[in-house]
């Protein structure tokens, strides 16, 4: 009705219900490659192809999303300013993962390779110091050192089974999704993968992580939520498939996550690698 020019969506996530009522929609935040929309209390992101597909992503090829000022939902059409988004040619992204049959030796080796890449190439102020303490030297000022200590202490406590440390770890760090939240996200992904490969049920723990770490940060909440129900963003799904199968591209998929702007990628990987190793050492897997 009020549609002028259509923006063609390339894909949309399988957790987006295009038929539901999006009346309560508003812009949460806008970046060059992303517009995050708050729909009720969930985030739906409209992203550039470079960001990739995801359970709650709508991929539209736009140069700079910062040109858009308004979001509107009218007559079942989503509008950015006056541009309606056309889903007719969009492919549905499948965010679930099916784990191929596993070779233990190869898998451990893949995990090792990816850990090495993280230790070597992660941004200086990321949490990768948890994997290798020689990286602690990057934290120079008192403030940076205190930040590092806080992450270290709370993460160690959590790994020693003090679940309440989640309360201290969440929300720690700089930006849009603080490092603490990303580390928690990594642990939750590890819990899911551990369940898939070992058969040990972790669904309650994942749910508890999600509920306990939920805070006023709708973005972190959304990321952790999708991880907790086994839904993954394209770049992470590729990574998981690589380390769980032939391991051909482990280095490049790891690098792709690290290059994913900011420290998020490194923080998620750090949480993922350390906790998954810990779960596996628990001895429950390879009996």
């Amino acid at each position: 009705m009020m549609q002028k020019i259509a923006l063609m969506a390339e894909s949309f996530g399988d957790c987006i219900n295009l038929n539901s009522d999006w009346k309560q929609i508003r812009i949460h935040s806008t970046f060059r490659n992303v517009i995050n929309l708050l729909v009720s209390s969930q985030i739906i992101s409209i992203v550039a192809p470079a960001v990739g597909r995801g359970p709650n992503n709508i991929v539209v090829d736009i140069d700079d999303f910062r040109q858009f000022k308004y979001i509107n939902w009218h007559d079942k059409i989503l509008y950015l300013d006056d541009y309606g988004i056309d889903f007719s040619g969009a492919e549905k992204y499948d965010s679930e993962i099916f784990i191929p049959s596993l070779n233990r030796g190869e898998f451990m080796c893949n995990l090792q390779i990816s850990e090495k890449v993280v230790v070597k190439e992660a941004p200086q102020l990321s949490s990768a110091f948890l994997l290798d303490d020689s990286r602690e030297k990057f934290f120079k000022t008192l403030f940076e050192r205190n930040l590092k200590e806080k992450i270290k202490i709370t993460f160690k406590a959590l790994m020693n089974g003090y679940f309440d440390a989640v309360n201290e770890l969440k929300g720690v760090g700089f930006g849009l999704t603080p490092q603490g939240d990303d580390i928690i996200n990594g642990i939750v992904i590890a819990l899911y993968i551990f369940e898939q490969i070992s058969g040990v049920k972790t669904v309650n723990i994942r749910e508890k992580f999600y509920l306990q770490s939920s805070n006023g940060n709708a973005l972190s909440n959304t990321f952790i939520y999708y991880s907790s129900v086994g839904r993954f963003y394209e770049y992470f799904k590729d990574y998981l498939l690589a380390i769980l199968s032939d391991g051909k591209n482990v280095e490049s998929v790891t690098r792709r996550i690290l290059n994913f702007g900011e420290t998020s990628g490194a923080d998620i990987l750090t949480g993922f690698i350390i906790s998954l190793k810990k779960f596996l050492e628990g001895g429950l897997l390879w009996q």
């Binding site: 209390s41 020693n160 089974g161 309650n204 508890k208 509920l211 006023g216 810990k278 779960f279 628990g282």
Partner: protein, 58 residues
Amino acid sequence: MLANELFKKELKVINIGLLSFKESLDKEGVKTIQIDWKPPATEDEETLDALKKLLGNK
């Protein structure tokens, strides 16, 4: 507070659920707080034990 006392006071609302109800009340100048509500967590002694086991801490 009995209902009759409510009628004498300024209505102040806590809204749990649909945000549009808060938005309507905002427009009518009624003081309203929205709760960021989530389904309650499972009762979870068991869950915590399971986590400790996973981490190798008995």
